[in-house]
């Protein structure tokens, strides 16, 4: 054990030097279709000479999604992220002897909902099992999970991302969902190295999790990141998980291996400790690159758990004291089989309607899913697909966009830029959510109307928007009035400004007269500069055309 970790760190040191020069996207590019017959190597052997087949990455994901629920999976304790340590702990959560699990129906419904949205088969009967291991933040010495028969199986997630050279090409992919299982979260161990103590916080112990297993259908960090992003959006749309990775509501472990296409999969590593979608892509790409490197140097990939270090951008072996774990699974005897019913008609007589989980009812209540929503936005408003991604990616932005549209006669295509560029960049700059925007949809609509009616130019409109952001509450009309930003449409005044510009730019005037009409735009720009963008562009154009004809 000691020897191998020394070797690993040495390897890592050597690799660091290599990796620095590699582009993170390399791993995606090296995927190629093979024409060679499959070979049976578990450790892909790098061919010494001409390598007609490149090693490619294979990525599967294990995702733990904390169920958004008021109470824990098997107890009545509240669920809350930053409560004082050990303040949300019931007798059951602390594993007091004699306590028994009582299944939270909300968690079951969340899992069914999620399963339906991921095209899973919902098992009418699923079972709970105990998974045993000793750990200080696992008070009972076992976790209740669904090993034998999970609640949902055999699903599919379709995700898309923008690829191609200009990153504007929509690439659509599928990943199989092997299963979704309900299980308990563990508590948290806080290690105080100074006093060599471990402090245990059981607030999280027993919170409901959905473990989603995504098959190794992905090949690089970008795909994995896109799949997780799509999942995140789905969960948020459903309200079954808040999906915040940094708060641990969504935890993603990546199983990464490399092989040559058509050959058996290589030895995999499990990469943990990834707390954002961005890091997920980086961690996976780093790990693929590392494994290829190991193999190309004639080494072997170790089956191990590695942690991603976001500071260095590397994955490092995790200390795994226990070695090989035998979880000694056994049926949880205190919970009867979990039965869900297809519809009300299939309920056994005498069932309490409030207690039963009915799939049909849940199916009927499913909200619009992100992919459907994007398609609808493109079809309804004629916006670009990439814009639909931007809208859907930001919580509340679709609603904002649609609210603006309702309040203005302007075409969606004229509005979309304001929402996806102006508004979004301001929000990002200030690290705000859509709901916190000081500029409300009707306020933005008013501004756009003023522009449409020719009261202000587009550049002034941006200026006004900035002002609206800063002094929230003031309407666009107020700001335009106060700061005298209205269009200058005094003909005499404009005539004199235009004359000044024409007089001082004889070369340009000459060019126009010789038929190069585009040069007129330059003169127009100069006039706008003089008027700080307030000149009525239509009027200016007419005057300039007159003066240069």
């Amino acid at each position: 054990m000691a020897a191998s970790s020394v070797a690993a760190s040495e390897l890592l040191y050597n690799m660091k030097k290599q990796i620095l020069i590699l582009h993170p996207k390399v791993s995606c590019i090296i995927r190629r279709i093979s024409t060679r017959s499959p070979r049976r190597y578990n450790q892909p052997q790098p061919s010494a000479k001409s390598a007609p087949e490149q090693l490619v990455g294979v990525v599967g994901l294990e995702i733990h999604a904390q169920i958004h629920s008021n109470t824990k999976l098997f107890s009545g304790s509240s669920v809350c992220f930053s409560a004082p340590p050990n303040s949300l702990v019931s007798f059951f959560d602390a594993s007091l002897p004699g306590t028994l699990p009582v299944l939270n129906r909300r968690c079951v419904e969340a899992a069914v909902m999620t399963g339906l949205s991921l095209n899973c088969t919902i098992n009418r009967k699923s079972l709970f099992d105990r998974k045993h291991y000793f750990y200080a933040d696992l008070p009972a010495g076992y976790q209740i999970t669904q090993q034998r028969r999970p609640i949902a199986v055999d699903g599919m997630l379709t995700y898309s991302f923008l690829g191609g050279k200009k990153r504007n090409q929509v690439i659509r992919k599928n990943v199989h969902i092997k299963q979704i299982q309900l299980e308990q979260d563990s508590g948290k161990s806080l290690h105080d190295d100074l006093r060599s103590q471990t402090l245990i916080d059981l607030n999280r112990a027993g919170v409901g999790l959905m473990e989603l297993v995504m098959e190794p259908d992905m090949s690089c960090g970008e795909e994995a990141a896109a799949a997780v992003r799509e999942l995140q959006l789905i969960l948020q749309a459903l309200g079954t998980c808040q999906g915040n990775m940094s708060e641990g509501q969504l935890r993603v472990d990546a199983n990464v291996s490399v092989h040559r296409p058509h050959e058996p999969l290589g030895t995999r590593t499990e990469v943990k400790n990834i707390n954002s979608v961005r890091y997920l892509a980086r961690a996976i790409d780093y790990e693929i690159r590392r494994q290829i490197d190991v193999l190309q140097r004639g080494g072997m990939v170790q089956n191990e758990t590695r942690a991603y270090d976001s500071k260095s951008g590397e994955t490092v072996p995790m200390r795994d004291k226990e070695g090989l774990q035998d979880y000694r699974f056994m049926p949880e005897p205190n919970l009867p089989p979990l039965i869900v019913y297809e519809d009300n008609a299939s309920l056994p007589t005498g069932t309490d309607l409030c207690q039963a989980v009915v799939v049909q009812k849940i199916r009927e209540g499913l909200p619009e899913l992100p992919s459907v929503r994007r398609d609808r936005l493109v079809q309804t408003y004629g916006i670009l697909t990439e814009h639909s991604f931007t809208l859907v990616n930001e919580d509340g932005l679709v609603e904002y966009f649609e609210a603006v549209l309702k309040a203005t006669k302007r075409a969606p295509r004229n509005v979309i830029g304001w929402v996806t560029n102006e508004l979004l960049s301001y929000l990002k700059q200030h690290d705000m959510s859509v709901s916190q925007s000081p500029v409300t949809p009707p306020a933005l609509a008013e501004l756009l109307e003023l522009q449409e009616m020719g009261h202000i130019s587009s550049s002034v409109a941006k200026q006004v928007f900035q002002e609206m952001w800063r002094s929230s509450g003031k309407t666009a009309t107020q700001i335009i009035h106060e700061q005298d930003l209205g269009l200058v449409s005094n003909t005499a005044q404009l005539h004199s400004i235009c004359q000044k510009v024409v007089d001082s730019h004889p070369d340009e005037v000459h060019a126009i007269r010789n038929g190069n009409k585009k040069v007129l735009n330059k003169l127009m720009g100069l006039v706008q500069k003089e008027t700080k963008g307030r000149a009525d562009p239509v009027l200016v154009r007419t005057i300039l055309q007159e003066k240069t004809s």
Binding site: A94, P97, L100, R130, P139, G141, Y142, D326, R328
Partner: protein, 518 residues
């Protein structure tokens, strides 16, 4: 007064012949006098007097909560009692006071019953003699009864007999007249076995009929709270109070709608009594066999249909039970790591070292042995071979019962134990596992199938020690079983230990035996 049944003493309380505090004091005195039995781990004297006082107020106001108001009871020390030590007779929990009451305890308290204390047992209910607890063995009260000492010439101090287990303390409490009823737990016979050896009635209810919330588990899929009392009718009263759905235990079932009060006269003419031939087990004592035949004949004479039936898979029950039990024990005991509650070893070189030494110091050999083998059975490479196989056999055993009951049999009549109680010095010649294998042979298959069973005392052996018979019924037929048990009870005339100080005043009323237990 102390030797009355629950029903009788309840009436006495209502009629004002005795007050709850008087009754409570009498019981507390009796507990002191019988301390050598080691029936109690904790006696809750202060609390008992307070509760008795409250009951007295209610009774004086003519507003008792029910038939149990003011009635002293005892609870096996593996049921959680709020702020009262609940040790499971283990060093691991020697100072553990739970913050809540088990549902069954709460229900009794809600009825105004008066808790006398927590009773001794085998550590974590693993045993069949109440000899393997951290607080020493429980002595069978009959060891001190004239019937035993006079007939055998035994000297109680050296020749005392075990009281069976693992709920030995509860059985001893009811038999030695310190409580009118007691809660036991029954996983493989732990309530019925000591009840038979101590001459009291025990009901092992249908699995799920009584809540396990707050019962520190042995085998979750087989554990049931058991009721120990002085008569079948008393057990029925308690059953009526304890049964039913509990939100906190997802394995509970709704109670049958019929009242649990037993009919005074039960007609056995229309019932069919099955006698399982496999229960003629090796080691069955001649005297127990004789009692079995005697009661069988009684049924036949009374016009019941008596049929020999077969439960072919019963012979595999014990070995299969051992696999399932040890596996669940390994799992259930995993929580005792010294972190959240209970014993914590002083070893602190690492978390793992602390776990290991805590568990080594806290558990006895029996518990540790079962954890070890249980984990072995659950290993990935063994799981199919042991655990899954045992589950399949368990199904076959349950099916055996199903077949018999669907063929028209109403109740099965069997012995409860192989023989009367064994002397402690003889009992401890064999190890815990061997003893459990022998002692649980008749009681354990019922737990595999989740069925109700009653042990009813039928006679004293030639040694002057109780012999009990067992009735087994279909699921949720608990009341019917008790009715049949009462029918037997009414005919066998089983004697009860009598408080000697009282019996001096009541001369020759019955053929009840006297105890020299003071």
């Amino acid at each position: 007064m102390l030797s009355l049944t629950l029903r009788e003493v309840s009436l006495a309380l209502r009629e004002g012949r005795i007050s709850p505090t008087e009754l409570c004091r009498k019981c507390l005195n009796r507990i002191k006098k019988t301390q050598h039995l080691n029936a109690y781990i904790t006696v809750t004297e202060e609390l008992a007097l307070k509760q008795a006082q409250e009951a007295e107020t209610r009774l004086l106001q003519g507003a008792p909560k029910g038939p149990l108001d003011g009635i002293p009871f005892a609870v096996k020390d593996n049921f959680c009692t709020e702020n009262i030590k609940t040790t499971c007779a283990s060093k691991m929990l020697k100072d553990y006071a739970p913050p809540y009451n088990a549902t069954v305890v709460q229900k009794l308290l809600d009825q105004g019953a008066v808790l006398m204390g927590k009773t001794n047992m085998d550590e974590f209910a693993m045993g069949s003699g109440s000899t393997d607890g951290a607080f020493g063995p429980v002595r069978n009260p009959w060891s001190y009864a004239a019937s035993y000492t006079e007939k055998t010439g035994a000297v109680p101090e050296s020749d005392w007999v075990v009281c069976g287990g693992s709920s030995g303390g509860s059985a001893a409490a009811v038999a030695s007249l310190t409580s009118y009823l007691a809660l036991g737990s029954d996983t493989g016979g732990s309530t019925r076995n000591p009840a038979a050896l101590c001459g009291v009635v025990a009901l092992k209810p249908t699995y799920g009929l009584l809540s396990r919330h707050g019962l520190i588990p042995l085998v979750n899929s087989m554990d049931v709270p058991g009721i120990m009392a002085r008569s079948a009718s008393d057990a029925a009263i308690v059953l009526g109070i304890l049964q039913g759905l509990d939100m906190r235990d997802s394995t509970t079932v709704a109670a049958p709608s019929s009242p649990t009060e037993l009919p005074e006269h039960f007609d056995v003419k229309n019932i069919c009594v099955g006698i399982p031939k496999e229960y003629h087990a090796p080691g069955l004592s001649e005297e127990t066999l004789m009692q079995w035949s005697r009661v069988t004949d009684m049924f036949e004479r009374a016009g019941a249909r008596v049929e020999q039936v077969s439960l072919p898979h019963t012979q595999h029950s014990i070995v299969c039970y051992r696999v399932l039990c040890h596996a669940e024990v390994a799992s259930n005991m995993a929580r005792f790591d010294g972190l959240e509650y209970g014993l914590r070893s002083k070893v602190d070189s690492s978390t793992e070292a602390m776990y290991a030494s805590t568990r080594h110091e806290g558990f006895n050999d029996v518990v540790r042995g079962r954890i070890l083998s249980g984990n072995y059975f659950m290993l990935k490479q063994n799981y199919q071979h042991y655990f899954v196989k045992a589950q399949k056999v368990r199904r076959l055993i349950a099916d055996d019962f199903k077949h018999v009951f669907s063929s028209g049999v109403d109740v099965l009549l069997t012995p409860t134990t192989l023989s009367d109680a064994t002397r402690y010095s003889d009992f401890t010649q064999e190890d815990n596992q061997t003893r459990s294998t022998q002692e649980d042979v008749f009681t354990q298959p019922v737990n595999m199938a989740g069925l109700p069973a009653v042990s009813v005392p039928t006679a004293l052996s030639r040694r002057g020690l109780p012999i009990g018979l067992q009735l087994i019924g279909p699921a949720l037929q608990d009341k019917k079983l008790l009715s049949v048990a009462q029918w037997i009870e009414q005919r066998v005339g089983f004697p009860s230990i009598r408080d000697s100080s009282e019996s001096r005043n009541e001369t020759g009323v019955t053929k009840r035996e006297q105890t020299s237990a003071v």
